[in-house]
Symmetry: D2
Subunit: 337 residues, 4 copies
């Protein structure tokens, strides 16, 4: 920690700060500058008591942390990139994995049609929401366990692995019984109890970035998964909220190189939520692949105009097949498969 004293602070006030730093287990190191005195507090910021409370002292101008607060998710903790094996499909390896399927599971016909189509086009993992977090209580909330059963049936028929969203601690076991990957949605990215419950099922977890989550907070949320003894975490960027209204969210593709540098966990890009517009999805996927994304999560629907949720951002089956073809040269250019 770096503690900056206000200008003109006397010896006595300074001594009180030094005493408190020592009391909390750190060793103070004083630097007298031209205008201000600065104190470095040596010690492990992650295990000792917090010095941030010093910011409320009258003689202190500011307190700045130095150490990164995440450890298990950090690149330093794990020399090389982690990979996650999901029914034989490796996420974080040489192959760019594509997770595709409808926003919501609506019916057997809708799901099976989609599953067969996305498999044929090259997807390896089927996405589909059975429990849906909706802004309004009057909107369609998902088929629940019936949706999970349909996903399991689609897996049996097509061999695709399955990813679906977990909304509630109380459903963690239920959803884990069916899913191959548990998705934590953007609205629950700060819901630490849900993160712990998801981690404890032992299933791989895909953690979406919160609506206005800083990258550091996202890494710390991921830390909740690894600290609960589940090593199979992947981060998923899905756009953040800004002042812009042209797109639903602003997809932050810089997260690809940043997560690769800061963490050993794979990074997945969701261009559907990331833009909220089906007509931007193909372009976003090309950028994501070129920048090194490990996987894509794409909303696909046999008839987007009739979708029960988020129709505007789902691509059609034909659109998806075309997209997968168009991506090939970019995947090759990135040295991936």
């Amino acid at each position: 920690m770096i503690i900056v004293l206000k200008p003109g602070i006397g010896k006595k006030d300074e001594a009180a700060v030094l005493k408190e730093i020592r009391r909390l287990g750190y060793q103070p190191h004083v630097m007298r500058g031209v205008a201000r005195t600065v104190i470095g507090a040596i010690g492990d910021e992650r295990t000792h008591k917090s010095l941030e409370t010093l910011a409320s002292w009258a003689q202190v101008e500011s307190v700045m942390p130095i150490q990164k607060r995440y450890k298990l998710v950090s690149r330093e903790a794990h020399g090389r990139a982690s990979t996650i094996d999901v029914r034989g499909n490796v996420i974080g390896g040489k192959r760019v994995q594509v997770m595709a399927g409808p926003c919501s599971v609506e019916s057997e016909l809708q799901l099976m049609t989609t599953a067969h189509a996305v498999k044929k086009a090259g997807a390896t993992i089927l996405r589909g929401g059975a429990f849906k977090p909706r802004t309004s209580p009057y909107e369609f909330q998902g088929l629940g366990e019936k949706g999970l059963k349909l996903l399991a049936k689609a897996r049996q028929e097509t061999g695709l692995a399955i990813i679906t969203e977990l909304l509630s601690e109380q459903q963690a076991e239920l959803v884990a019984d069916y899913a191959d990957i548990l998705q934590i949605g953007t609205r629950n990215a700060h819901n630490f109890q849900l993160l712990i419950a998801a981690a404890r099922t032992g299933k791989p977890v895909l953690l979406k970035r919160g609506l206005s989550m800083k990258i550091e907070e996202w890494l710390l949320a991921g830390e909740y998964i690894l600290a609960n003894e589940n090593p199979n975490l992947m981060f998923c960027e899905r756009g953040v909220r800004t002042f812009e209204t042209f797109t639903r969210n602003m997809l932050d593709l810089s997260t690809i190189p940043i997560i690769k540098k800061e963490s050993h966990c794979p990074i997945v890009i969701d261009p559907s939520q990331g833009s909220g517009r089906a007509d931007l999805v193909a372009s976003m996927c090309k950028g994501a692949v070129a920048m090194g994304a490990d996987a894509l999560l794409i909303e696909v629907h046999p008839n987007p105009a009739e979708a029960w949720s988020d129709g505007a951002q789902q691509v059609s089956l034909e659109g998806f097949a075309t997209l997968m073809e168009e991506l090939k040269p970019f995947i090759a250019a990135a040295g991936r498969e």
Copy 2:
């Protein structure tokens, strides 16, 4: 709903849109403008199927909702302002209620000292976190049930009512057994399962605004409480996340007149989270009271510099007593008590 067609759309493409609008239960109304054709779809947007999926049609430029999506929380639903009676303290009435206490319950001594002091200064409700949502898994997570028991003891000793945060669906019954008001924190404002669980306890609910929650989404989150048959909802503004780094959050005091216009539920202001700096709390409270806030939620600690969480934003016991004195003329100017 208003559906705007792209320029130069032919009769056949237009007819398809009209047919779909009718199929979804609305009556279309065509207006041919200078550059574009616009279709009004007449029908109840809250009970019919969503027309937003039309946005994915090739011939459609945009789709705009007209009706407000919230109803039970809306001002129109309930002619006059609602009031909530908490152990004889009415929130939303003539008296401005003050909820004060430490960020986290840390010990019996800390809590009792604070409780007696804030009561003496004029607070009627004691706040204190027993379960704490923390960005890092390595930070203090709260005393849990032991903290709840201490809060109950403080209520018994002082007569103050109690508000504390609910973090997990699975703890809803437990927390409701002790608390007079359940607080839903900013990180869980989009956690609809938790909102439903809180509503079902029957206890009054204080719903903080999410980190980057639009006012419309906040009202809709409140709708989850009322739609689950709990009429005792209050909204709490605690600052939102922006580009500014000088303060921890940006306290949006415009929510006071806006919630008063849009809803019948009381509005509470949290200046502590709202700024993250104890030295701004008094000024924020004056503004909030002048603008018509129904209650204030203030973090107070006997020794902020030793607080186990958020020390920088907690005011001291003396600071709180001074603040309560300073507020009096503004409360009077606002015609409140």
Copy 3:
């Protein structure tokens, strides 16, 4: 400056950093922490060369400034609050000044009607735009010099002082010939050439906060005025851009106590731009006054529905008179006149 080295950096790489720090005129001070080595660089960050370029060195993790970068506008530079005398009306003194008038000067009738009405209600300064910055080139751009002449005539008739916006360096002398205060609008808050030109006219300058300007940047923009030998600067908060769409901007009232602490210059609040909605203006004014604003800048129009610009946020003459009455108890509560 604080320079944080990456973990595990060798002696040679560290020595190179120390050498560079010395070369740039600072004295390095090494602290070896548990996980990282931290170097404090002692010297005046405002006059020496920047150390931020060290951030691009391979062995450096981060570089953090310590000193505040503004000096002339800082509170420390000028023991007590500055006041600005505008034709006998003191801004920053005991009296809360009210600047009121139309968004745009449209006609003699419109302006004189407004001027007499706002004077009668208690305003001391007349606002009105003669040069208007408009998002679209096809919108009304202001009456230009004809508008300035009308403002001068209104001053002559009513005795009100005049504030109007300066848009262009080339018009600085022209606008200064007519105006008592030059307003720099939010879109030009980062237009340093315009700030310099405004400063050099010698007229008092009201500097609005930029659309997404950090408070530190705002203070530094103000520094351009004082550094060009014009001491009469006032800051004006007018709302910032966020994700929220309910209001046009988010009025950040926390700037009142913050500017008071950080700077000696007066702080003015513009609730009209700050919300974009006339129905919120009165409430915003009450909050601003309670929190210590030195002046208010309010858009008033004899017939808002016929205004040539920003009709939605202008209050009527009657509305303004009522507002001025309603403010009185809050002004008294704040110990102002």
Copy 4:
């Protein structure tokens, strides 16, 4: 325009709105919905008077524009993509152009070294700031005309075209005498007087997106260039300001497909400002090229650690040469040269 009346509005109040709509030159079209009455106003929103002032009427709930406000920059206005020829280098054509060079022109040696190196690596346009907009008045403000002369000399020696920033209306002729492209920086993107002055020089203009500029506003700012009879406009995305602090700005790559759809003007990406970190530049460039950017604007310095401005985001000469090599497969995959 769509005008939504409040619920329960009587005939008389409705008639007043209809009368006003007709008075302003539009034809009203009434739709009576379940809960509200909605009025479509038929007419050209870009040439008639604004109906937005109706939002201030007591009986009106909201007013929503339908037409896009930009015309000359719109894709519809100009069937196919525009191209701009800069000394034989076509921007917007098959070849992806690379503009590279230092943030600031510092010396002849620095500039010539960079110019030769970026030319050798494949750049066709040299960038370099002679007039620099700086947050603080105490920072290096550029070499001024001396810098322009050095740029001209570098052009003569290398054959590279030149782009440099225009800061002030008064320097428009001067800068245009030397530069092949005038750059309008992010801080001046809303400075309409500067846009007009730049347009009138007749030189091609590169318009950076403002710090928190909506895409619609950016297109309208571009409209100021075309409406002043300069057809050679290119848009440049350089990142916007958000809550995130990990990167200096958030580069919004979705602007590439969006500008391509909405406008006929070329789109340029600036990954240096867009991230503020040299280590992210290569990845950003790959994404930009894959998504269809017409050109890249990259900061390159012979010794980033000694740069007089923005050292942290400039890549070295070697780094640039490597980057240009790495981009080749992505340029080929995008079907460009």
